[in-house]
């Protein structure tokens, strides 16, 4: 379980996030909406443990351990993983090598890469000269090799072209153990009970909801979680009224 309690995060001298409360139970996937600059990426970075996203109040509990001040690699070892919106380029390190690092030697990298349609750039430098969509698929490949228990996705579908969007959606569903099962193979209740992966997905389009059934949605507005509820419902509100409506809620929350 991931528990975020009354979290405040500063970047530089600026308070970016305040009073953030979240609870993701094993098997659950939550969706994070919000306008540009509202602090969505910052929240994921703070959960992942980036030191420049300074936690000034509150705490983060993962699997009953207070990880608020743990370094990134220890969080990764505990099973937290992230697919980035804009990951850095690493010259001289091949994508294949990085995926091997993620997989700790196991796994069939070729097969996973083919599935995500990234086999062509396994031998290129990490993120060098990749398009937005290619970067997202490469990120998913790394997560697939890493196989974490809590997965943070930062706009995994943005920049992905139509041809690849289904495989991105399906890959995320697989990672979160939410892929569509052929009917009657197992009782639904059983599949749900065995599910342990937790997900937190940032999306603008909500496209991902077509592939990944989500349990809860939030709107982050100006650093505050201003609204929570059924993700599809929230998405409809946003498309009908825009984020303006959230501003009003945010004011109430403050």
């Amino acid at each position: 379980m991931l528990l975020v309690e009354d979290l405040a995060v500063e970047v530089g001298d600026r308070l970016i996030l305040k009073h953030i409360d979240l609870e993701i139970k094993p098997g659950e996937t939550h969706i994070l909406f919000g306008p540009n600059g509202s602090g969505k990426t910052s929240l994921l970075m703070a959960i992942m443990g980036y030191p420049n996203y300074r936690i000034t109040a509150g705490r983060i509990i993962f699997r009953s351990v207070d990880i608020t001040h743990l370094p990134i690699d220890e969080r990764a070892k505990m099973g937290i993983g992230m697919s980035y919106q804009r990951p850095p380029t690493i010259h001289g390190l091949k994508t294949r090598q990085l995926v091997q690092i993620c997989a700790k030697g196991g796994d069939d990298i070729e097969e996973m890469a083919a599935r995500l349609n990234v086999d062509k750039f396994l031998d290129r430098d990490v993120n060098a000269g990749l398009s937005g969509g290619e970067i997202k698929r490469s990120e998913l490949l790394q997560l697939m090799a890493q196989n974490p228990d809590l997965l943070l996705f930062d706009e995994p579908e943005s920049g992905v072209d139509l041809e690849n969007i289904a495989l991105v959606g399906e890959a995320i569903a697989t990672l979160l153990e939410k892929e569509k099962m052929p009917r009657n193979t197992r009782p639904m209740a059983e599949a749900k009970r065995d599910r342990t992966k937790m997900g937190l997905i940032i999306t603008h389009t909500g496209f991902i909801l077509d592939y990944v059934p989500a349990d809860k949605g939030y709107v982050l507005y100006d650093g505050v979680l201003s609204c929570s509820g059924n993700p599809s419902e929230i998405l409809n509100w946003i498309s009908d009224c825009g984020y303006e409506e959230c501003a009003r809620c945010a004011m109430k929350a403050n």
Binding site: M48, P51, D73, A76, Y84, I90, G92, I101
Partner: protein
């Protein structure tokens, strides 16, 4: 013989001439007298003390001579081993060559000016030895020839002159390892090298430096490449050295000739490197690339590059990346000189620290901070060198791996 007296005359005039780059070395601080060492047969090479063999291996020189097309081994001032293993590839000590082969005179001091500075003058006036390596026309070597310039005597000045000739359509690979015995702290190495790459010939020259803390090193190298020829020059220096200065120069004289330089330098506290490459693109269709990766681990590095485009349509690219790991200084000085319209030359230079974001990114994939840092550094140092035999790629990788621990 008139040539010879003329050379001596010019050299004599230059014995005090300072070089334009690098700190001035006082030659009188070093002993350039001959040191006697006995010759080593093939089997003797493998009987060298273990510490010495290790030093050789680190510099890319294999005492067992496996997968080598020939070996030249100079200890201090003496040639202790010289052998060739491939048909059509000659390896001859230069003093012997000058004595017995008149043709060597056609190459000797034809590219490097004998009066360039006091170091070239010293290499003329008190030549210890060096190698002449020649690939006969059409001969394509399978394995690299290895050459080792070894300093065993503390405080020695070692004067070396090398000549490399690749006849038409030949292919020649050379790895030169420069190193000292483990106990040696200081010394001066002067190395003059002249490369003749004839029509459609291909030469790769890989130099691995593994000097000692207080060594001073002054290589002087010039190459000419004729039509369709290729010259690959690779330089790796990962160990401390007091002062190293070189500016190897290539003249692309024939149409479609190509030169590519790659250098990888790590400079530790107390070390000074002033290294660069210069290429004259003097014929139609010539191409040049100069790539360097330098890391300061506390030492000072000046990384130069200079391309001179002399005819329209030539292409060149200069790339210098520097990484500051632990203080120190890196100065990148790329120079592009177009002398006519229609030359196409570009450069990119970047000097900085490792981005924290890159370290964090790898940490989120499970590496700890040290592992993430060394992964990034190794990536930074890895350059894909097209056209280099796997054997030599392996040697470069090994040199980088071996010093990985020191760099961190």
């Amino acid at each position: 013989m008139r040539d010879e007296s003329e050379l001596i005359k010019r050299a004599t005039k230059a014995i005090h001439k300072k070089a334009p780059f690098g700190k001035d070395v006082h030659l009188e601080d070093f002993d350039a007298a001959t040191v006697v060492h006995s010759y080593l047969a093939d089997a003797d090479l493998c009987e060298l003390p273990e510490t010495e063999q290790e030093r050789l291996l680190l510099a890319g020189v294999d005492p067992a001579q496996e997968k080598r097309g020939g070996t030249y081994f100079q200890k201090d001032t003496a040639v202790v081993h010289c052998s060739m293993k491939e048909e059509g590839i000659e390896v001859i000590p230069i003093r012997q060559a000058l004595e017995h082969h008149e043709w060597v005179r056609d190459y000797y001091w034809k590219l490097v000016s004998v009066d360039a500075d006091k170091y070239t003058a010293a290499a003329k006036l008190n030549l210890h030895d060096g190698y002449v390596i020649r690939a006969r026309p059409g001969v394509k070597s399978i394995y690299p020839v290895q050459a080792c310039l070894f300093i065993e005597k503390e405080g020695l000045q070692q004067n070396v002159h090398n000549i490399v000739i690749a006849e038409e359509d030949s292919e020649l690979h050379i790895i030169t390892g420069c190193t000292t015995a483990a106990h040696v702290k200081t010394g001066l190495h002067v190395g003059v090298s002249e490369f003749f790459i004839k029509k459609n010939a291909k030469v790769s020259f890989t130099m691995i430096h593994n000097w000692a803390d207080d060594m001073l090193v002054r290589p002087r190298s010039v190459a000419v490449v004729e039509e369709g020829g290729l010259y690959l020059n690779n330089y790796v220096s990962m160990k401390p050295v007091r002062s190293m200065q070189m500016y190897p120069t290539t003249h692309l004289l024939g149409p479609n000739a190509t030169a590519r330089y790659y250098s990888i330098v790590v400079s530790s506290p107390g070390s000074e490197h002033d290294v660069g490459g210069r290429v004259h693109l003097s014929a139609e269709g010539t191409r040049a690339e100069i790539v360097s990766r330098v890391i300061s681990n506390g030492g000072d590095i000046i990384s130069r590059g200079h391309m001179i485009g002399e005819v329209p349509g030539v292409k060149g690219h200069l790339e210098c990346r520097g990484l500051l790991l632990n203080g120190g200084l890196i100065k990148a000085i790329p120079e592009l000189e177009g002398r006519v319209d229609g030359v196409e030359m570009s450069h990119e230079a970047a000097v900085g620290k490792i981005a924290q974001e890159e370290i964090s990114y790898l940490m989120s994939r499970g590496l700890n901070e040290d592992e993430a840092t060394s992964t990034i550094v190794r990536g930074f140092l890895s350059v894909d060198i097209e056209g280099l035999p796997d054997e030599l790629k392996g040697e470069i990788d090994r040199a980088i791996e071996a010093s990985d621990r020191d760099v961190m």
